[in-house]
């Protein structure tokens, strides 16, 4: 069963959000990395880029396919995980830690409330795998 940490927010597109003050860290979930398989390339936005919730902000390439990564919340990118350039496998090995993707300044902190809780996300992926 995929690991779903308690303290994060989740989107139905399988991204997680960790809110830290008026910023948020975003990555893909353990379930997502497991479904994608071995990740070989991660394409991320640049610092200063802005996107709205549900926009594609990057892509993840695995040995199976290239998939877009959708923004769970609106934000302006203030930091990206440059190390994924050389070590994309971190998304597989530590999706909630070293495999984080971007840190954004939240443009609409209220959006976080519309995301799934850990329990809701667990139910959601259970339904997807049935």
């Amino acid at each position: 069963m995929a690991h779903v940490p308690e303290d994060l927010h989740y989107s139905k597109d399988h991204e997680w959000v960790r809110v830290e003050g008026d910023t948020a860290v975003i990555g893909i979930t353990d379930y997502a990395q497991h479904s994608l398989g071995d990740i070989v390339y991660v394409e991320l936005p640049r610092v200063g880029d802005s996107f709205a919730a549900h926009d594609a902000f990057g892509s993840v390439e695995s040995v199976k396919a290239v998939s877009e990564v959708y923004a769970p919340v609106s934000g302006e990118v203030i930091e990206v995980n440059e190390s994924l350039q050389d070590e994309p496998e971190k998304v597989n090995s530590d999706p909630y830690g070293d495999g984080w993707m971007v840190r954004v300044r939240l443009l609409d902190p209220g959006e976080v409330d519309s995301l799934l809780t850990a329990a809701e996300y667990e139910d959601y992926i259970k339904k997807e795998t049935e």
């Binding site: 479904s35 398989g37 071995d38 390339y41």
Partner: protein, 507 residues
């Protein structure tokens, strides 16, 4: 591994093949030049020293002619090809390429014709192109045809450029129609072609039945900025979009055009015409549906067929008939211009015309029937062993998943690798993206009942192995010269060039 279970092939006794660099031996050569019978010219007078390498050709392999011939001949025998057997790559239509097509394309008058020959000296070739255009127009129900696009994605982009040019002419530039709708089951080239042509891509969902979601399509069309829809029919799940007329109606009502990806035309030829469904423009893959070579360099050919309304925008030159003569017409002021040097991949046009003429309308209808029947046969035969995510009867290809096998830790990639041990090329895997663990199987009309049964038997044997000895499947292939490759490491840290090793240096 359990070697005794492998029935169709035995392990190779030969070693893997060294690279030419590794086979190199100092001083070995392919040719000896005759003794010089003129005064030698000092090399400095011909090639300045700074343009010459001074390392005595270090690292350049030194081999004899027979070394090189045997090396490449050995490698060529390791390939799998449509001439070896069933090649069930879904959405690729790997059908047999008849020898007759090849023979016709090699007729000296076609093969040696210079592309700059004046039209009056190339009447036969122009007639072939014109004739083929006429046939493709009839098959698609779309009268405007250009044979220029070099392959499928190029044909897509040409089609999308036609839509753009048409909208600019109809509504004036700055019409603000910048959205291209693409279903989530589409080939990745569709959004890429739209994006390259300056459109924003919006995705249309697929319903649980595997068809385009009409309600969402209506919503997306209501915004007034839709330029068109790019739809594959049958879609990449192998299902016929039975609401195609309604789909075209919705897009047309919203002022957009419908582009059809013709990758799956093999399910329709002779039975249903995109033009009659309401489609405005389509590309065909001659290298799929019309049996010209596919893969291995092809080259491909992706003709674009469109309605009379779009015809003025087709690439120039157009090939037209005037009385008994054929002409190249460049006088098309609304044309999007050339998309390819000369007239497209001409040799493929010759082969496709040979295919069409040798089959005739009845033969092509029969080919379509057999392609669909073969896919349905597999759909039925494997339904008890593999999960089928969509229940409607498929057209020319069928999608299964690894859902049942995954419970034992056996996944689509493992099943595909194991099929190699049984002597088959694996199907398309992990596509369409909306199907988890997809295996998309397209047998085409080129396989008979016996080979279909062998394929079914192999797939069933693998399903059984997945239950009883999953390790055998997880570690496949076992009968190839090298075992399972680490595809992740190869993609993450690719080795792109040979570097001398201690062994090669000492040699």
């Amino acid at each position: 591994m359990n070697g005794s279970k492998i029935t169709k092939a035995t392990p190779h006794v030969t070693q893997n093949e060294d690279l030419l660099f590794e086979r190199s031996r100092r001083g070995r050569i392919g040719y000896r030049l005759p003794a010089l019978d003129v005064e030698p010219t000092p090399i400095d007078e011909i090639v300045p020293a700074e343009l010459r390498r001074d390392d005595d050709l270090e690292g350049v392999p030194e081999l004899s002619e027979v070394d090189v011939v045997r090396h490449f001949t050995r490698l060529s025998t390791w390939n799998y090809a449509v001439d070896h057997g069933m090649y069930p790559l879904g959405s690729c239509t790997m059908k047999y390429n008849s020898r007759l097509n090849e023979k016709v394309a090699r007729i000296a008058g076609f093969a040696n014709l210079h592309p700059l020959a004046p039209a009056e000296e190339a009447q036969g070739a122009l007639e072939v192109l014109y004739e083929l255009q006429q046939h493709l127009a009839e098959i698609t129900g779309l009268p405007g045809v250009s044979l220029q696009p070099a392959a499928g994605a190029h044909g897509e982009m040409t089609g999308v450029m036609l839509i753009r040019a048409y909208l600019d002419a109809r509504d004036g530039k700055g019409h603000g129609r910048d959205v291209m709708l693409v279903p989530d089951s589409a080939h990745g080239t569709n959004p890429a072609s739209a994006n390259l042509s300056g459109f924003r891509v919006k995705t249309v969902r697929t319903t649980p039945e595997g068809l385009t979601d009409l309600d969402q399509l209506r919503e997306l069309c209501a915004t007034g900025d839709v330029a068109g829809l790019m739809l594959t029919n049958p879609n990449t799940l192998g299902l016929f979009e039975r609401n195609i007329r309604e789909i075209c109606h919705i897009v047309h009502e919203a002022g957009g055009l419908v582009y059809m990806d013709g990758a799956n035309m093999n399910a329709l030829v002779g039975w249903a015409r995109p033009g009659d469904m309401g489609v405005d423009v389509i590309h065909l893959n001659l290298h799929k549906t019309f049996s010209t070579p596919h893969g291995g360099g092809g080259p491909g050919s992706g003709p674009c067929c469109c309605t009379a309304a779009l015809e003025p925008f087709l690439p120039v030159p157009r090939i037209v008939r005037e009385g008994e003569a054929f002409k190249l017409d460049y006088d098309r002021p609304q044309s999007i211009g050339r998309v390819r040097a000369f007239y497209g991949n001409f040799g493929m046009a010759v082969r496709a015309l040979a295919y069409i003429l040798t089959h005739g309308p009845d033969g092509m209808r029969e080919a379509t029937e057999a392609a669909v029947l073969n896919a349905r046969y597999i759909a039925q035969a494997l339904a008890s062993d593999y999960e089928k995510p969509y229940q409607a009867p498929p057209m020319h290809e069928v999608v299964f998943t690894d859902k049942r096998q995954a419970r034992k830790g056996v996944h689509t990639l493992d099943i595909a690798k194991r099929l190699i041990d049984y002597g088959f090329h694996p199907p398309t895997i992990y596509f369409p993206l909306i199907v988890q663990g997809a295996m998309l199987i397209e047998p085409t009309e080129s396989v008979g009942r016996e080979e279909l049964d062998q394929f079914v038997a192999a797939m069933r044997a693998i399903a059984r192995e997945a239950e009883e000895e999953p390790e055998t499947v997880r570690n496949a292939p076992h009968t190839t010269r090298i075992g399972r490759l680490d595809e992740a490491a190869a993609a993450r840290r690719p080795v792109l060039r040979w570097k001398p090793t201690a062994k090669a240096e000492s040699a």
